[in-house]
């Protein structure tokens, strides 16, 4: 296994109390595999990724438990310098908003080249040549002429390509993409996702795709982990989950999105609101919104039940959920 997250807990100390953002998350990614982490805002999907990358703001954040095994080594036990060496070389991240993630006062060539100067000790001239090569690789037209341009001189799609180029620069084994196409138009989103998938295949990287878009997930993922209130509520191979979800939350999400290929009547709506992380409901965090909730759901936290070899569901009534299609 390339990456294994085991029982990870992250909390944020705020003025109003302790916000439990991640409450015992387990997931793993193999080489060449795409894992989609699906969730709404506040579900803990980005915080988990930040903990894996080691870019969590501490304080206010704090990793209060768990292990992050990367190629067998627990990242949480490493010294900051060792961690820094892994970041960029072995694992890299693509952020949602390329304009605010790139440095506005440095040319993209300098920002791309910096990777090679810092990690590989290259000269500035060689680094620039490498930067041009990378820009070619992510298909930025006229790379040689544009290497000296600044981020604001590129369109949104091109900026996202530069982000991808940066993440790929040192050919890492793992890429974490946090909502990489959310800010883009659909035609550009299609271009960027295709590019990312192609490069992943070529380099046989593990990819963690963090998103809230069920369409994007269906398009590129091998496996899905659905998060709710800092927990994974369901994990399964992509085909199975769309066909027959084993958790009422996943089921509700799938039914609440309108379809492009047919016109339905009224949309199914999950009632209520996502929970406040300062006051996560006892028992199953989803119970106040769940149509299947029973007394046991209010008191007992459901463990991650084994549905079959590859599927897990954190619902007391996963069998009933599966049957009641």
């Amino acid at each position: 296994m390339l990456l294994e997250v085991r029982d990870l807990h992250v909390e944020f100390h705020t003025r109003d109390g302790v916000a439990k953002a991640v409450n015992g998350v387990n997931y793993s990614v193999a080489e060449g595999e795409t894992l989609a982490v699906l969730g709404e805002s506040g579900s803990g999907k980005s915080v988990t990724a930040q903990a894996v990358m080691g870019i969590l703001d501490t304080p206010p954040g704090r990793i209060s438990g768990g292990e992050i095994l990367f190629q067998g080594h627990d990242l949480l036990k490493l010294k900051p310098e060792q961690r820094r060496r892994i970041r960029g070389q072995e694992m890299a991240m693509i952020f949602q908003d390329a304009l605010s993630s790139l440095n506005p006062v440095l040319s993209v060539g300098e920002q791309l080249g910096e990777m090679f100067v810092v990690h590989r000790g290259m000269s500035r001239g060689d680094a620039k040549a490498k930067a041009i090569e990378l820009m070619d690789r992510v298909r930025i037209p006229a790379a040689r002429e544009r290497v000296g341009n600044f981020p604001h001189q590129f369109s949104g799609g091109m900026r996202q390509r530069i982000m991808i180029a940066m993440a790929l620069a040192l050919e890492p084994d793992l890429i974490i993409a946090d909502e990489p196409t959310t800010a883009l138009d659909v035609t550009v989103q299609a271009q960027v996702m295709e590019l990312l998938a192609e490069l992943q295949r070529e380099l046989n990287m593990g990819l963690i795709l963090i998103t809230h878009d069920l369409g994007v997930v269906a398009d590129v993922a091998d496996r899905i982990a659905v998060m709710y209130a800092g927990r994974i509520v369901e994990t399964a191979p992509v085909h199975e989950i769309y066909e027959a979800p084993a958790h009422p939350y996943t089921k509700g999400l799938l039914r609440s999105i309108p379809r492009l290929d047919q016109k339905g009547q009224e949309l199914y709506a999950i009632k209520g609101l996502p929970p406040n992380l300062l006051h996560i409901p006892p028992g199953c965090a989803f119970h106040p919104r769940c149509p299947m909730a029973q007394a046991v759901c209010r008191t007992d936290v459901p463990p991650l039940h084994t549905v079959d070899e590859e599927r897990r569901s954190a619902c007391h009534f996963w069998k009933e959920t599966l049957d009641a299609r």
Binding site: E40, S41, S155, G156, G157, M158, D185, V186, T187, V188, Q189, A190, Q191, M193, E194, H212, D213, L214, G215, V216, V217, A218, D219, V238, H239, Y242, G252, L253, L254, R255, S256, I257, P258, R259, L260, D261, Q262, K263, G264, Q265, E266, L267, Y268, A269, I270, K271, G272, L273, P274, R289, P291
Partner: protein, 380 residues
Amino acid sequence: MAELDKESVDATPNVTEVATVNAATDTEAVAALDAPVAQGEPILQVRNLVKHFPLTQGILFKKQVGAVKAVDGISFDLYQGETLGIVGESGCGKSTVAKLLMTLERATAGEVFYKGQDITKLSGRALKAVRRNIQMVFQDPYTSLNPRMTVGDIIGETFEIHPEAAPKGERRRKVQDLLDVVGLNPEYINRYPHQFSGGQRQRIGIARGLALNPEIIICDEPVSALDVSVQAQVINLMEKLQDEFNLSYLFIAHDLSIVRHISDRVGVMYLGKMAEIGTDTQIYDHPTHPYTQALLSAVPVPDPDAREGRERIILSGDVPSPANPPSGCRFRTRCWKAQDKCATEVPLLAIPERFKASDTPAAHESACHFAEEKDVVHAA
């Protein structure tokens, strides 16, 4: 104000209803459901609407060096009680259309007839009277509500501007009624926006839009800032309110699935022009404009089996600048069908000649010289 059961806004539709939706996979069966709303007189007629934003140079002696052609001659009708969806990518001019219809921006040329009256020429009292009937719901519920005003003041402010809509003593009650209608607790009247979640804030925005009993509501990306599970709640609320108050919606969004769900008719915009317009079945199941086809094919469908089956049209390049749009057809720089004719002749928005005689769903207005039907939404 009509009574509206708060429960039912949030609550799930009953099981049998959902079952019928899922069973209706056959497009023909579904098509029958969305028969167009009875087409009487249009309530809003837009004719050759143009908005150019000048680009100037120099500080003291400003001179115009060009113009951003945000909206460049579009025409459409909006009928009573229908929803017209407008889709397009960022920069296509869809939000500028919204501002022009609200007369928040003055049109450079063209007309907007509201009940036979050209509102682009109105000012003063006459304009104010028209504005009462055309209201807006904004995209971002976090910035479109004043954080220093209570919900009661935000919604009640409309009555200060249009005092004839409600006498002073009744305003508070009216605001509470409105909160009830959009599914919020009327006792929340003294709360501030930050005490609500995103979905609840959007309900406040909708209540404000409804306050003056308008006939038309212009919704500019009303659900794109909301989480998936909350989106459905707000969409259902908007549909319910439309039936109840016989509202006409102009629904602007970039999410093509949501637009299909809520719209009776859909217009596709590209670089300030209307590329194609028709009923939702015509546009989604029988698109004839290459841009519409590319746009639809790029939307990821939440069905992993569609991965292989659907044809993908990946457009090359980016949208050209609206300050310097391509000659002829504006889409030709990214179009795989482009020929010499496309560079010289601007294609008109009309029913293509070849489909005119026949009674096919492809016979709807499309601005392409080489309009051809192509299904890109359903897996082969």
